[in-house]
Symmetry: C2
Subunit: 321 residues, 2 copies
């Protein structure tokens, strides 16, 4: 019986649904492949913001007030680094630093990012597979008229000030999918793919850009359910709208439907965007309308069940695309 | 006029006197060269326990209760590392980790240990020169019947359990003195050398073992004042007596006087060991008897002045050896 689910996730919003899926599915039935395009080297440490967001959310360690990082975090190491004259534009909590230190030294010791991520998530008691999209470095970069910036430099350090001309996923074309992502894509018991509510252009496209992933997804005989990151036509996390405007990427469910053309079979959209259903149907997509804002564990699990139901309905209705 | 002082220091006890010297001498008149034999690589970080002890003591950041590390320290990163299954035998505070992260990434970026140490001590507002004995790695190792252990592994991880057969300073013979130590040794205005109250066999010998340092010290036409680390014939920090016993190194001022034969001109010993003076005189050494226990800044500065006076008296009495 087809019962395995592959989830693709970026950071915050995606991480919430990934945690919801992990709460309602047994470990053997779920693979969560995470964007690593936002990864970067900082103060000698390899930081994987999206893997950490998914990990902290799934382990129940995430700070729901601040929206990122670990709950109950302290900032002593950062205070010392600041005193020592080191750069402080990327705020690193003490507990979070424990994660980066462990990851960085294991990578330097020769482990792959998949191995390290397995080790670290197991350490936090997570039985589900949280895997990087690739073990090879892929770097999402913003090309502006003046320079090329790694994403965190553009987003956090420069606060999105440079005018973006293009976005690129450096290294993606040469990067192979991680072993567990490749395995999930070729499992005979794969029942469906859920694209978590992450930014399509910034958080999901890097995953699709990894060598062969887009083609493999397009060829899958299973439903691909996109949970829209929009509520009322707007991204819940606002600061990227400037970037998307500059790139001519429209923030609407219709634009998302078109963006995923040939990949998605189903969109889950928010109640506030119910009017978008008609246009999406016209694109040949099935639509589920529900509340998509996730404030707590109940919300995350409910939305996970809705997305899984959509995948199952698709599976029963269509068999294959 | 000869007025520059070169201090040689190990960790805790030595660090206290080094801080005292920095409190009573202007920055231009003092070079503090620190043992790096206890340095080690841990979780991908380069840790320099003695440099940090001297730095924290001189910056007034040291924890005087615990006897090591930074005052007001927290342990959140270590708690996370432990949860992630990483080794926790060497306890790293959060503020301390800020120091190790900064040092490690600067070293990886190509700075020398001297450059990094200058940068970090300046960051903490220290105007005095705290310099490594060498920029090349030297590792104090304990040779036991079963294995060769880096010092921190022997001392902290194994709690001194292995039976020591020998001590060695791996890399010392090939290591050149750091630029600032070499400069201090050849300054025409060098007035004296003060060997701070650190373990002669474990903390000072590695400095002397650096290529050319022992010979340069022996050839200096200035007083070399050793402040004994013993009080009442015992080391203030106890756990190393087992090691010294196994190596046949006697913990007495007479043994220390013999150990530094040809180098030292003067010993500063504690009131409790006044009876040792006669034997030391017989070795040709001058002796100052005073209280050497340093509990607070006043103690440190007083002992610093006593040691400096001893150097000045030596200078006036003997001119050269």
């Amino acid at each position: 019986m087809r019962r395995h689910i592959l989830a693709l996730s970026g950071g915050v919003g995606g991480a919430k649904l990934a945690a919801g899926l992990a709460a309602v599915l047994p470990p053997c039935d779920l693979t969560i492949a995470v964007n690593t395009g936002d990864d970067f080297e900082h103060l000698g440490l390899t930081i994987c913001p999206d893997i950490d967001s998914v990990t902290y959310a799934t382990a129940g360690l995430n700070d729901t007030q601040r929206g990122w990082g670990v709950a109950g975090e302290t900032w002593q190491a950062m205070a010392m680094l600041r005193q020592l004259g080191e750069t402080d534009w990327f705020n690193l909590g003490d507990r979070d630093l424990g994660m980066h230190i462990a990851r960085s030294w294991r990578l330097r010791a020769g482990e792959t990012l998949s191995e390290v991520t397995g080790r670290l998530t197991n350490g936090l008691g997570i039985a589900h597979a949280i895997v990087p999209m690739s073990d090879a470095p892929v770097r999402t970069q913003i090309v502006s008229d003046e320079e090329v910036l790694d994403f965190q430099h553009y987003f956090v350090r420069e606060q999105c000030r440079p005018v973006a001309q293009a976005i690129r996923f450096e290294g993606a074309a040469q990067a192979q999918p991680s072993p567990r992502l490749a395995e999930a894509l070729s499992r005979p018991d794969l029942a469906g793919v859920i694209i978590c509510p992450s930014n399509p252009y910034l958080s999901v496209d890097p995953i699709l850009a990894v060598n062969g992933v887009r083609q493999a997804l397009a060829a899958l005989p299973v439903p691909v359910v996109v949970v829209s990151p929009l509520v009322g036509g707007k991204s819940l996390k606002g600061p990227l709208s400037k970037l998307l405007d500059e790139l001519g990427a429209e923030a609407s469910n219709l634009a998302i439907g078109k963006h995923y053309k040939g990949l998605a079979t189903h969109l889950v959209i928010d109640d506030a965007d119910a009017a978008d259903a008609e246009g999406l149907h016209a694109l040949g997509l099935s639509v589920t309308i529900t509340g998509t804002v996730m404030c707590d564990a109940d919300d995350r699990e409910r939305l996970a069940r809705v997305a899984l139901s959509a995948a199952r309905i698709e599976q029963e209705d269509h068999g294959t695309r």
